[in-house]
Symmetry: C2
Subunit: 263 residues, 2 copies
């Protein structure tokens, strides 16, 4: 970064342009067999009363990730640490905030077993919303948060293909059915149980058997083996999402990453 640049109109390294840097967090969880995100209702202008991502200013001696975690906790009352926190991208279109130039660094997180959010800090209210509602634009969102959320949804969907992140949506110990349900909910697609079972059990160190099985439920059925997550972070040969009938996308939008994302 040669930001000692002195363009024709003459910047000085200390006379930096007035820009505010914020962080925003798209927090995913699965509740009621639906992929949901955590939003807060804005208590102040602009966009007062609209739903928005939790987030806020980065403090002078605070790292970006640190700021993201702090704002998540402060504004939503969530005390649990996210199972995963990852940078999504930075949004800095000049007029995305009416008050001044604001560049926001967006993060996305996975939170399992989310306790009911209670709204802390100065956020009036915090609540979970199904991503299908957001994808249908059924919600009035503040700023460009609709765009950010859609890009986060695409990121989490594509990350399930080649990483072992799906297990982070599950409790510490889980069955293969539960894990499959994560994929089905996030991808909004049906997955063949037998093939899924074969795939995840042969993927090296994706799952570790605890030796236990579930105690069978009321309706009967063979008890399922119980697993915990292995140490592998990537799946050698990715799972594929086949286009589901309800979900009609042919070409994924720009920036699925880093499958990169595989990486």
């Amino acid at each position: 970064m040669g930001y000692d640049t002195k363009p024709p109109d003459g910047y000085d390294p200390r006379a930096y342009p007035p820009v505010a840097v914020t962080v925003d967090v798209v927090t995913f969880t699965i509740v009621d067999d639906q992929l949901q995100i955590l939003l807060i209702r804005r208590g102040q202008a602009p966009h007062r009363g609209r739903w928005a991502l939790p987030g806020g200013f980065v403090r002078p001696n605070e790292g970006l990730e640190e700021a993201a975690l702090r704002e998540l906790h402060e504004e939503t009352g969530v005390t649990a640490e996210p199972r995963h926190l990852e940078q999504l991208g930075t949004y800095g279109r000049p007029n995305r905030d009416p008050r001044m130039r604001v560049v926001t660094v967006a993060y996305w997180a996975i939170l399992a077993n989310l306790p009911e959010p209670r709204g802390g800090g100065d956020a009036a209210e915090a609540s979970l919303f199904s991503v299908v509602m957001v994808e249908a634009d059924a919600l009035k969102l503040a700023f460009d948060h609709g765009k950010i959320i859609k890009e986060a949804v695409e990121r989490v969907r594509s990350k399930l293909e080649y990483t072992t992140l799906a297990a982070q949506f599950c409790p510490p110990e889980f069955t293969i059915s539960q894990l499959r349900r994560v994929y089905e909910v996030v991808w909004n697609a049906r997955i063949d149980p037998a093939n899924f079972h074969r795939k995840v059990t042969t993927s090296p160190d994706f799952l570790r058997s605890t030796g236990d099985v579930t105690n069978p439920r009321a309706r009967g059925g063979r008890p399922a083996k119980i697993y915990s997550p292995g140490k592998a972070m990537y799946i050698s040969s990715p799972l594929m999402r086949s286009p589901s009938p309800t979900d009609s996308e042919d070409e994924p939008p720009e920036e699925p990453p880093n499958r990169s994302d595989r990486g």
Copy 2:
């Protein structure tokens, strides 16, 4: 973003913390059968004399991507438009710049047929460096630019697996051998010509035959068919990089994309 947050120490939306936002660009090109990146030599403190990524302040009414392109052109004298420009990530560790808090949004770009950089703006010098040199830490780099470059290299490597971006390193019309060479250079691995040929020709709309063939070279050899890039942006079933003897990585580092990056 609820950056109406008023933390205990009392922020006001207009009394934003003093942060500078810059952009930096990692520009890749292939010259002399090597993956190379474009760096400038810093003419001012801090890190005067060190090599750094081209970049600089984002101007008040300028988009981030726009700023990245401007700085690339201003500081390196490159006039050609990049074939690809994509956000890599944002780096904002509190003391990454000794002068003040600077958050930088990093981009990476592909530039084919790079004309010799001449160093423009106030950059003393601009030059290409092989990524193997940078990966070996053989170069004194400014700030955290070494880290940024390494993450960009991993990103471009993983993106070749599942996208058709490799063609952007080639001239508008090229042969399959040239395309294969791109993969071999970027991945630092040998690729079987026959299997590669089969793979790229069967991948839907990756390549379009122009009908022409090369006029044979001095050394002889069968003339190669000439192709231009198709419209497909993704490869249905990814190419795999097998660990090469010289390049020993077992687990890819965090955040390859996307295979999103996948996004």
